[in-house]
Symmetry: C2
Subunit: 535 residues, 2 copies
C-alpha cells in the first residue's frame, strides 16, 4: 500500500480533473494507442486529454456565503474537478467535453461548525449540497443531476483530515471524515495500529466516503467492510448534529450508526468517527492455485469460506481475468490465497486452505507450477495490475473503448448461474450494439459462508462518439440480470445516481417509505445530495 504518498492536494503532484488519480500517471498517447490496438473497433488515435479551458463554465449562480467565503473556491479548475466522480461514464463524458453539471461553488470546511454553517446557509438559499471526499465515486455519487435547486455546492471534506485521538488500550481512533487513506495510515503507523481498510480507491478516497458508501476493503473474509469498524459517528444534519456513543456493541434499539452508514450524504454529512483498529500484521503467507474447471474452483472457494480458516485473501480470477492480469495464460482460473496475523504464524492455516483447494482440483503455483514460495508470481502480478487498472481504463477510454467494472453479491446457490448469465448477456448486448465482440471477465473479490461477491470487468470497442449511451445500455442489461438473479445492485460501489433504478427495484417498499420519512425529518428542505437513495 502506498503509505507515504502525499495528500492529493499536495503541491508536488497534480490530480487529474477528469480521470483517475495523478495526472502524471496517465498512459501517454503512444501507450493508449498500443492498448487500443488490442481491441478491434477502437479509434485509430487517442481522444485528446480534455482541458478545463475548453469547457463552457458559467459564472456561479450564487455568491459564496459572506462569513465563510474564505472556505470557498470558485475557480473553473476546482469546480470542474468536483463535477463528477471517476466512473468510466464520467471519464467518457469529460473526454467528449460533456461533463456533468459543474458545481457553482466548492467549499472546504476545516471544522464541524463550518459544515453546520454551510448547511444552514444552503438550506436558506435552496442550494444543493453534494458531499465530496476523495471524489472516487464510480456510481454518480458526487455530482448534481437536477434543476430543482438554485445552485450546487460541492462540500469537499479533505481539509478535515486528521486523526484526533488514539485509544491504544481499546485499539480505536477518532478520525475526521476527510482523511484520505494514505494519510490515515500514516497517522496511525506511529501507534503500531492500522485500520487495515484498503479499497482499490484507497489512495484517493476518504474515511467519510467509505462510511457514507459502506465501502468494502481489500480483504476477502472476516472484517473487511467499513461498517464493522465503526464505534460511533458524528453526522451534521440540517436538523442538528447526531453523535452516537462509542460502544463495542449495543442492543439499544435499531443501530443509529447503521442508518447513516450507506446514506451517501442524503441524510447528513459525516464529520468524524471512532473506528476500530488492529495491530499491524507481522505474519503473512500466500499462495495461488490454478483450476481447469471454474465451477470446481467455486466449490473450493465455498469450502474455504465455510471453514473457520478466515483467509485475508481468497480471490478467484476466472480464466479471462487471470490472463488479463498475467496470473495465468493457459485458460486456467486462478485462486489467490493469503493469510495474515499479528499474533503468530499463518502457514498452517495456509496449508489447510491449499489442501482444501487441492481436494477440489486446484494445482499449486498457477501457470508456472512452481511450488512452495510464500509469495508467488501470480500474487504479485495480480496486485500490480489491480492498482494500475483505473489508469489503464482511462487510457482505453481515450481510444473510445469501454473498460469498466461492476460488482454484486449473491448467495452461493445463485453464483454459477449469475456469473454465466452476466457473461453471456452483457457480451451479446455489446456485440449487438457495437458489432465487435466484448470481453466480460469475472473475479470473486469477497467471499462469505453464505455467498460471494462477483466483480465483473467489461472490455468492449464501444460506439465511437456515443460511448456513454453504449455503456448505459450495457449497464442496463447487467442490472436486469442482477435483478433476475436477486443479486444486489452493488456490494461495495454504492448506489449513487447510476444505480438508482436497480436500487429502487431492490429496496423493500416499506423501507423506502421509512427512509423517505427519515430524510424528510433530517433534511426538510431536501438540499442533501439530491438524487441519491430517495427523492
Amino acid at each position: 500500500m502506498p503509505g507515504t504518498t502525499p495528500q492529493p492536494t499536495s503541491a508536488t503532484r497534480t490530480r487529474s480533473w477528469w480521470g483517475w488519480g495523478w495526472a502524471d500517471a496517465h498512459p501517454d498517447d503512444a501507450e493508449c494507442a498500443a492498448m487500443g490496438a488490442l481491441i478491434p473497433g477502437t479509434l485509430a488515435h487517442p481522444l485528446p486529454v480534455p482541458r478545463v479551458r475548453d469547457l463552457d463554465i458559467e459564472r456561479p449562480a450564487v455568491e459564496p456565503p459572506a462569513g465563510l467565503a474564505h472556505l470557498v473556491a470558485t475557480g473553473p479548475r476546482e469546480r470542474a474537478a468536483h463535477a463528477m466522480g471517476k466512473a468510466y461514464r464520467d471519464v467518457a463524458r469529460a473526454l467528449r467535453g460533456r461533463p456533468g453539471r459543474i458545481p457553482d461553488l466548492v467549499a472546504r470546511p476545516t471544522e464541524e461548525r463550518e459544515v453546520a454553517d454551510l448547511l444552514d446557509w444552503a438550506g436558506e438559499r435552496q442550494v444543493a449540497v453534494v458531499p465530496y471526499g476523495g471524489g472516487s465515486s464510480v456510481s454518480g455519487g458526487v455530482e448534481y443531476r437536477g434543476d430543482a435547486h438554485r445552485a450546487v455546492l460541492s462540500l469537499d471534506l479533505t481539509a478535515m483530515g486528521r486523526v484526533l485521538e488514539v485509544d491504544a488500550v481499546g485499539r480505536a481512533a477518532r478520525i475526521q471524515a476527510g482523511t484520505l487513506g494514505p494519510s490515515l495510515e500514516d497517522q496511525l503507523r506511529p501507534h503500531g495500529l492500522t485500520l487495515r481498510h484498503f479499497p482499490q480507491s484507497f489512495e484517493f478516497s476518504t474515511l467519510g466516503g467509505w462510511l457514507a458508501t459502506r465501502a468494502g476493503g481489500h480483504y476477502a473474509t472476516g472484517r473487511t467492510h467499513i461498517d464493522d469498524f465503526v464505534q460511533s459517528l458524528r453526522v451534521v444534519t440540517p436538523a442538528g448534529t447526531s453523535a452516537s456513543w462509542r460502544l463495542p456493541a449495543s442492543g439499544a434499539g435499531p443501530s443509529p450508526d447503521r442508518l447513516f452508514l450507506g446514506s451517501e450524504g442524503a441524510l447528513g454529512i459525516i464529520t468524524e468517527a471512532w473506528v476500530r483498529l488492529q495491530e499491524r500484521p507481522t505474519h503473512k503467507a500466500s499462495a495461488s492455485l490454478a483450476f481447469t474447471d471454474f465451477h470446481a474452483a467455486l466449490e473450493a472457494v465455498r469450502a474455504i469460506a465455510q471453514s473457520d480458516l478466515s483467509p485475508a485473501n481468497c480471490r478467484l480470477l476466472d480464466a479471462g481475468e487471470a490472463a488479463l492480469s498475467g496470473a495465468s495464460h493457459d485458460g486456467s482460473a486462478v485462486l489467490v490465497l493469503g493469510f495474515e496475523s499479528a499474533d503468530g504464524p499463518v502457514t498452517a492455516r495456509l496449508g489447510q486452505a491449499v489442501d482444501l483447494a487441492r481436494s477440489h482440483g486446484g494445482r499449486r503455483g498457477g501457470v508456472d507450477g512452481v511450488d512452495g514460495a510464500d509469495t508467488d508470481a501470480a500474487v504479485g502480478a495480480w496486485r500490480s495490475a489491480f492498482l494500475r487498472m483505473p489508469y489503464l481504463r482511462d487510457g482505453l477510454a481515450r481510444m473510445g473503448a469501454v473498460a469498466e467494472t461492476f460488482e454484486t453479491a449473491a448467495t452461493w446457490d445463485r453464483i454459477p448461474g449469475l456469473i454465466e448469465a452476466v457473461r453471456t448477456e452483457v457480451g451479446e448486448a455489446a456485440l449487438k450494439a457495437s458489432g465487435h465482440p466484448a470481453t466480460v471477465n469475472c473475479r470473486l473479490t469477497h467471499v462469505y459462508p453464505d455467498g460471494a461477491a462477483p466483480y465483473f470487468t467489461v472490455l468492449a470497442a464501444g460506439r465511437p462518439g456515443d460511448e456513454v449511451a453504449f455503456w448505459d445500455d450495457l449497464k442496463a442489461v447487467a442490472s436486469d440480470v442482477l435483478h433476475r438473479h436477486r443479486a444486489t445492485i452493488t456490494h461495495h460501489h454504492a448506489v449513487g445516481r447510476d444505480h438508482r433504478p436497480g436500487y429502487d427495484r431492490q429496496r423493500p417498499d416499506p423501507f423506502a417509505l421509512a427512509l423517505r420519512a427519515a430524510k424528510g425529518a433530517l433534511d426538510p428542505r431536501g438540499i442533501l445530495n439530491p438524487g441519491v437513495l430517495v427523492d
Copy 2:
C-alpha cells in the same frame, strides 16, 4: 442445550403465567424459605404463588375480529399469561396481585396473511398491538402501559413456528418468527446445521423475539449476535410488507434489515427470516483459570479478545459471581474459556489462550487446582447455575428479596471504573433503602477487541410490600452510573419500556427524529407496541 424440550404450548407441561418457565420447575415453599434465610431482612414465609382467579380481570373492551375469531383467545389465563414479560419487576408485580394491564385479546396467527389482517383490524379500531414471542422480555417489552388505545391485542407468534426451507449449500434457512429456540434447533438438526444462538432465555424465546430485540447469544466472541445471522427479513407493517432480498452482503444504501433489527415491534411485525447457519461443532475444549486480582483478569480477557484466537466462551466471573455459582470459594475471580470448531481440533487455541491468561496471573483449574481436564468442574458448575438462575430468582422474589440482573457494554478504557461504580453505588443505594447490605456481582458475558459487556446480578433484601418501587429506585441508580460512564443502557436485553429513560438519553436526537418519522410512515395510527423506542 435442551434440544428435545417440547414447545411451551405442549400438553405435557404447563408454563407459569407469572414466573419463569415451567410451573413445575419452580422451587417449592421449603426451598424458597431456605434460600430466603441466606439473605437477612427477607420475609419469614414465602408469598403465595399467585393465582389467575384472584386477579380482577375485566371483560375484553372489544369483540374479536369477526373473520379471525378462531385465532383469538379471550380466557383469563391466556390473557393474564400475556400481560407481562419475565423481569423481576414483572414477577414482583404478579406476586403482589398487581400485574400490568391485562390484554383484552390474545391472537395466534398461523400465517403472514393473518398478521396483516389483524393489523388492519387493529388500525381501524385503534387497538394497540403488542407482539409476543416467547414472552421472556426482561425490560417491559411485551406489555401495554398507556390509555390512548381502545383495547390491547397481544399478538402471539408461536403458532408460526416452522423452519420453511433449508439451503444446505449456502448453510441458511427460512424460519418463521414464532419458532422457539429448542424447536428451531430440533428442526435444523436433521440437516446437520445449527443457528448456534443460545441466549439464556433460549427455551422460552423465539427467533422473532431475538431479531426484534437484537439478542446476544451464549458465545463470548465472534458471531454471537442475532444481527449477524440475518440474510433477509419479512416484516408486516400497517403500510405493507417489507421483504428484503437474501444476500450475503450488500452496499446498497442503509441496510433495510438493520432498521427492523432492534425495532421491538414498534415498526412492524417480523414474520420470518432467512438466517445463516453453521455446521454443528465437533471439536470442543474448555478450561478455567482463577485470578486473585480482578483487574489482572480484565487484562487477560482483553489480551485474549484482541488476539485472533476467537474463543467461543471467554466469561469472566468476579469473586462474588464465582462463589455464587460454585466456581470458586476463595475469593478468586474465575475465567471460563471454551473453544469450538466443526473443522478441526481446538486444543492448540485453548492452550494459547490459557498461556495468555497465565501470563496475566491466572491459575489453571479454578479453586480445585486440578489441571488438564477438557471440561472441568468450574465450567459445569457455572453452566448449571446459569440455566437454573431465573427459577431461583422467582423463588427469592417470593421471599420478598430482589434477585435481578442488568447488563451493558463499554469500551475497555471505561470497564474497570464502570464496574467499580456500579458495585459501589448500587450497593450503597440498596443499603440505604432497605437497611440491609446487598450483593452486587459482575461477570463479563461478551468480549470484544474494543470493549466488553459486563453483566450485573443484584441480590438484596428489598422492602417488603414495596418491592417494585425499591427495585425501580436501584435500577435508576444503575442507569445513572451507566449514563455517566457512557455505557449502553442495554447490550442484549432490549429497551422495552423499563429502559426508555436511559435509552432516550443515549439515543442521538437527530436519530430520534428519523426513527419517529419512520414510525409515522410505517405505523401512521400508532398501534404498534406503543411505548417502546419512540412515542
